[in-house]
Symmetry: C3
Subunit: 372 residues, 3 copies
């Protein structure tokens, strides 16, 4: 370790913020690429050489503004140019060049991908040192990357373009689709199945035994779980999550569903398509969740429930009964513990605040009765 | 990866549900083995060739029924035969062959084990490629299996019949009993001790330092933790759990206790025997829990508590004080936050629902007083 | 596995509690080293040979007493000598030798470190078997220890005195300071930065992609996250935690902050210095937390909040709005969900208990009105 290794420490200069690279895009070319309306065009050429938040942006940086909470940051930003919504009035930004687009966040993401494509080294296909690959695993080493010290079990199949990180453990009979990213130290138990373009962040475990025991009067006897976990196309699962295998049959995560970190999915759960499950949520065994359901953070669902499509559960909802869904554009909102329609839960939360007033009025009534 | 690798995706045919195998058992032999009473005996020979849930079962599949919520599934099942409770009346199942047994779930599990024994390849003993084993580790390579890229530290001892998964990290001086299953990427810190037949699902960490600091006026000074974690016989711990080592002495999980995924056990906790700890529960340091205690999901216990035996804590209970236990067959129920006997907690939860009625009655009283 | 391997099981003798070693310190030398006032000095020489809790202590063991809840344990202890606070009256301990010190816990910790230094084998520097180290990784193999089967990516830099555990995955461009301890199977995504003396317990993941998606009307589109995680000097993070990288810029954990197990930190969060974050807490994206903030267990913070310095959040607080801080020695207390100043939350929790009384008084009033 030479000097500067510990450069992350606050007592010294902070390290240069890593940016995607030394690529550059000229402002006018960028406006054209994004179909943006330009406000405050720069006098001459303006090269965009970095990407940053409003607060941290410096010369050459492109940033974006999409939430009025950050208006002060916009007005004070050192960015070279900022992506803003089409309906942004533009007050108080002086001569700051603006690019008006439909979605500043998605436009920024598009530019990000251009920068990353030019800068981030592509993962090389092949089998890295230390990886232990079963003789009968089935993949094309010219099209798949197996990370250092990963383990690939008997009969596993991996589709083209998939990247398996270091230390990943892939069990026997696992099937992985095309274009998947499996980050380091993920564990896939035997016979787990991933669709295409699935992303698994580090440390996540798919296929652990369901939590099933029967008390025989003396001890809890383990119920064998021989099902599997199926993860459909375009699913992303965060870091250090756990998804149990079914007792038989499968635990299934529907296509396009996105799951945050430290989420627990019980055995034989079925999650619909395009759901959003935020951090620290736990779903107990055999519950079935419809499509387009959102669960904010720290939600809990009991087992054996039926959750309709297009539901939104507020953070910390504790769902103890099956609930009907909503419709596209008109979701059903639930909150509280036990969870109820959000309008009811809100009332229940507010009622107790009226008790001091009730006690005061009650005392006044009692005193008037005494007086007579 | 050839065609079909991505077969898990919904746009294509689902993959054949993996079943335990191509073994088969004749119906009458099965009835005899299980001591079952037969209803609707099949006309001729009937070979059971698979195991499935009522909903998914097809020809040749055995299924089971043990909960009246699934009566519709039973009546519509395509199973070849179904295990049912002895007292099941059998209405509406037509000519479906039934096997009446004491516990359909346990009987199904027994058949499962027969199928699995015949089908699932046994793990071969020996040390797999890439495993790094200390010279003075003590185990019989003809009786123990060490997975690929696992690490076994100095002085570790592993009992016969134990299976250590790929990527597992076993610290110095660890003791593992006989017949244990340690799934991939588990971490056992130095001197962790496992009894016999312990099961640790993937990614679980035993022996991390307890969370102990003392603020010296400027900074939080780390208190050294040099204790260890002891896990007794027949314990199962789920995936991605954490159990901290004691500051000194041990953190102990009692025999037969079963722990679900993502559970946190603090330093110097003692868990009794035959407890059930469901997902996302956290138990703070030095708390002592009696035998036969059940904690439903997302429970929290403060530190330094004494929890009596035969308690049941409802989901999301937040336990802030020591509580007395119950007796076999007559457990003490607690719920709520702060946790109280469940009857009290229920009342406290229901009271606020009476506030609208109270306000109405109060208004009526006030108006009558005004009228006079 | 020879006899005794399964010795951890309760049916047999418990294993000898592992102690830091066979070192010994004479009582009077110890008193001098600690600047302790001696009560009940032993008659002759007294060698301290072990360290233990009051309850478990035996001949030769030093223990400590710092909390009156453990007075019974002190009076019954089998310890050879006990560290006590300077103001301890000493009743009821008979002839037990006592060492009065400012902080019994810190004094005990000091002795612990002496014992451990003499006993625990030092980790040898160098690269262990099976580790896969990039050619251009930058560290001094005579001053750094890389564990078995660890992976060190391109351009990673590691400071002197740091110990990287087995199975750790270090991404490209990661910077690690001096004197860090990274326990087994930790994952550091590309460009993660650790200051000096950082401790990461096993299974923790730093740098996973933030949970950011935009719904395009049909599906949730992933927002690229290319920021990084910066962990400043003297931070400790527990086991199986997750810290997401920033969308751009960094997620930052301030110097001296200590984080327990299974904690989730969202993308672009900034945690101040010297914070204490207890187990199972989750902090959503872009929230900024001041210095010296304490979060007890199972706390949740919404995203985009500003939390002032010197706040204390009670266990299970659910923080939905920005809150002002306190001052050194006079922290701001919050509790409840939604979190409010603790005095308010306490009232709101107590109010419903008055409803039975309210109903009784209301009934009495109604009856008196009827009577007339």
């Amino acid at each position: 370790g030479g000097p500067g290794v510990g450069g992350a420490t606050p007592a010294r200069d902070p390290p240069p913020a890593p940016t995607p690279g030394r690529v550059q895009i000229e402002f006018r070319a960028l406006a054209e690429q994004l179909g943006a309306e330009v406000v405050n065009p720069p006098g001459g050429e303006l090269d965009i050489t970095g990407l940053s938040a409003l607060k941290d942006a410096g010369p050459g940086d492109l940033s974006f503004f999409h939430d009025h909470r950050y208006l002060d940051d916009l007005r004070a930003t050192g960015a070279a140019a900022v992506l803003v919504p089409r309906d942004f009035a533009g007050d108080g930004v002086g001569r700051l060049p603006l690019l008006k687009v439909d979605s500043p966040s998605l436009a920024f993401d598009e530019v990000t991908r251009d920068f990353l494509a030019a800068e981030v080294p592509r993962v090389e296909p092949g089998v890295a040192p230390g990886a232990v690959v079963s003789d009968d695993a089935d993949f094309d080493p010219a099209a798949v990357s197996i990370g250092a010290n990963a383990v690939v079990g008997a009969g596993a199949r991996i589709g083209d373009g998939s990247v398996i990180g270091p230390g990943v453990s892939i069990g026997a009979g696992v099937g992985i689709g095309e274009g998947c990213k499996v980050y380091p130290n993920v564990v896939l138990y035997d016979r787990t199945r991933l669709g295409d373009r699935v992303i698994l962040q580090a440390g996540t475990v798919l296929g652990s035994d369901g939590f099933g025991f029967e008390f025989d009067g003396k001890a809890h006897r383990k119920i064998e779980h021989f099902g599997y976990v199926q993860v459909d196309d375009d699913v992303e699962i965060g870091a250090n999550c756990t998804v149990d295998r079914g007792r038989f049959g499968r635990t299934r995560i529907g296509a396009g569903t996105k799951i945050d970190n430290l989420v627990q999915i019980g055995h034989n759960v079925t999650l619909g398509r395009h759901c959003i499950i935020v951090a620290d949520t736990a779903i107990a065994g055999s519950t079935r969740v419809g499509d387009h359901v959102t669960m904010a953070a720290q939600v809990g669902l009991a087992g054996h429930l039926e959750i309709g499509p297009h539901c939104i559960f507020a953070a910390r909802s504790g769902v103890t009964k099956s609930v009907p869904g909503g419709a596209p554009g008109s979701p059903a909102f639930y909150s509280g513990f036990p969870a109820a329609p959000a309008s009811e839960s809100r009332k229940l939360m507010v009622y107790p605040r009226r008790i001091p007033e009730i006690l005061k009025r009650l005392k006044a009534v009692e005193e008037r009765l005494e007086e007579r």
